[in-house]
Symmetry: C2
Subunit: 329 residues, 2 copies
């Protein structure tokens, strides 16, 4: 297609999406990629990303928010695409010296990444909320969509495993998510922030990113009243499967499905979210699967192997969603 | 002198000092240099350094102990000799990124230095004492004399200045010790550790290093029962003047003397410590000064411009001290 006709289509789709308010619930890598695609397809004030903070932890005195950082770095164009975490062009001077000093080196603190943790911890120590600290970091990194932590309260996810109850990062990083998960323990009485509630109140579409349902999306939905608002308010709720042909692009989702008593398939993901969603998006490798609760479907390439592919998937989802909204209005 | 005769002299002086137990009370640069000289003249188990922790502070979540680190880095041979703080061969990747992120950059966190702060903070968070964390860091850096924090309790030094009461690092680093000091405020009820008390109990000689008397040595003496033990127990107490011909080699000592109501001279330092000391060491540039309370005197080159000069000064002090001990026994 000529670039002028590509431009014309882009203008048209921008116009089609111009009034949409979209909220994306996102964990780490998969969530970050879809959030980036949405950020490319929408104006900054149309998109809000609600990030999982269930895997946040304190390490060497630093407040570390791995999922928020993955989303922030991805939106800022400074994420390390190979590893799926941390910064591109990272160096490891401090970590090498920590190893020499006998300090903990199981969590890979890069020199650039450290600046984020130190700056965030400083602001939290000054009394700023995590929401404010995240907004400040995003502003400095020229990230325009609102990236909101699900809560300003600590909300640590714990894993009940065959090796006992483990804090999230102990299981995920230190033990490389190998212990078998019997149950995910989410904290009671965690409250969403006013900005999260305002974003959900205004949203036309809520998208559950292709993140791990148990340790990325559930921890967000567990924060009161996010699940209730997602269930009742938006015109359309979309879920994107993190499972493609029985595997996860990144992380433990595929390993966890059978551990948690589910089939390891996109259909099982659709089933898991059945009460919430109107539209289910899954990969073309799974074409022909049967979805039990019969939501609307979009079967497409969901791999997002490049920024252009992130944007293409986001536009496909938004276009399908807009059509559904028009049909039902 | 031939190296074999140098070796003979060293063996002789090692023998002369072989049974001595020496404790050195040390602040930052001057204390670190003398401690290093003493470490070169004595076996590791003969020397204990009690470090000032009055300038410790929490920054971006990290527990930072500037004086302990200066002593530790100097003894390990990894100190930055030009700046008087931090590591040699330091890099600044994280700090540059913190500046970009709008984080606090007034306290210069080097990449190597950060490893110390992170590792220490980790161990403190694990429940280790500052004494244990310091011992662990020293072991990893092959530092053999015992370096003991004066206390495991926080003991922050405050400065009452013409700009109000300031925490130590705010005055010292952020405001480059420019506000005029009216009074140094030391905390009440801080207790020394058992290891500090054992070292003072065993000491033949206690040396007050050429550190700032108001903000380096006084904070140590202020910790109960360090002043009482120094006054009553050791056979000999030595002070080395941080003032040479009315100037301080490093830091605010010379500026503070008149601010605190004293003459800016080595003699005033001797006077300040008069109740405690038996031997006063001062620089040859001040030869001929009159000392009011008539302690024993050693007038020599105290500048310590090289490791060899640090050791030479240490040996001069020890030799004079041993002579005095022999005369009085």
């Amino acid at each position: 297609m000529s670039s002028s006709s590509a431009w014309a289509i882009e203008q048209q789709s921008r116009k089609a999406f111009a009034d949409l308010k979209v909220v994306c619930l996102a964990g780490g890598v998969g969530g970050a990629k879809l959030a980036d695609g949405l950020a490319r397809a929408l104006a900054g004030d149309q998109l809000t990303i609600i990030g999982n903070t269930g895997d946040d932890f304190t390490h060497c005195g630093l407040q570390i928010c791995p999922d928020l950082d993955t989303v922030m770095y991805t939106l800022a164009g400074v994420a390390n695409v190979e590893t799926g975490w941390g910064r591109q062009g990272e160096s490891w001077t401090t970590l090498a010296e920590m190893t020499r000093l006998g300090g903990p080196d199981w969590f890979r603190l890069g020199d650039l990444d450290l600046a984020t943790h130190l700056t965030r911890t400083h602001w939290l120590a000054q009394g700023k909320t995590l929401t404010a600290a995240t907004a400040h970091l995003c502003a400095q990194l020229d990230v325009h969509p609102a990236l909101l932590p699900m809560s300003d309260q600590p909300a640590p996810t714990l894993l009940e495993t065959d090796e006992g109850v483990l804090p999230f990062q102990d299981w995920f990083v230190r033990r490389r998510w190998q212990p078998i998960v019997q149950r995910v323990i989410l904290p009671a009485d965690v409250k969403a922030t006013p900005l999260v509630m305002r974003a959900l109140s205004r949203a036309d579409i809520v998208i559950l990113a292709p993140s791990n349902p148990f340790v990325s999306i559930d921890p967000i939905l567990n924060v009161y009243p996010i699940r209730e608002m997602v269930a009742d308010l938006p015109q359309l709720v979309v879920a994107v499967s993190p499972i493609i042909a029985g595997t996860a692009v990144k992380g433990p989702a595929a390993k966890m499905m059978p551990e948690m008593g589910f089939a390891n398939s996109a259909a099982a993901i659709a089933d898991y979210y059945a009460d919430l969603i109107d539209l289910f998006v899954y990969d073309q490798k799974d074409a022909g699967i049967l979805l039990a609760n019969d939501p609307h479907q979009l079967c497409t390439n969901t791999l997002m192997t490049s920024p252009a592919e992130r944007e293409r998937l986001a536009r496909d989802i938004l276009q399908t969603a807009v059509q559904l909204l028009q049909e039902t209005s």
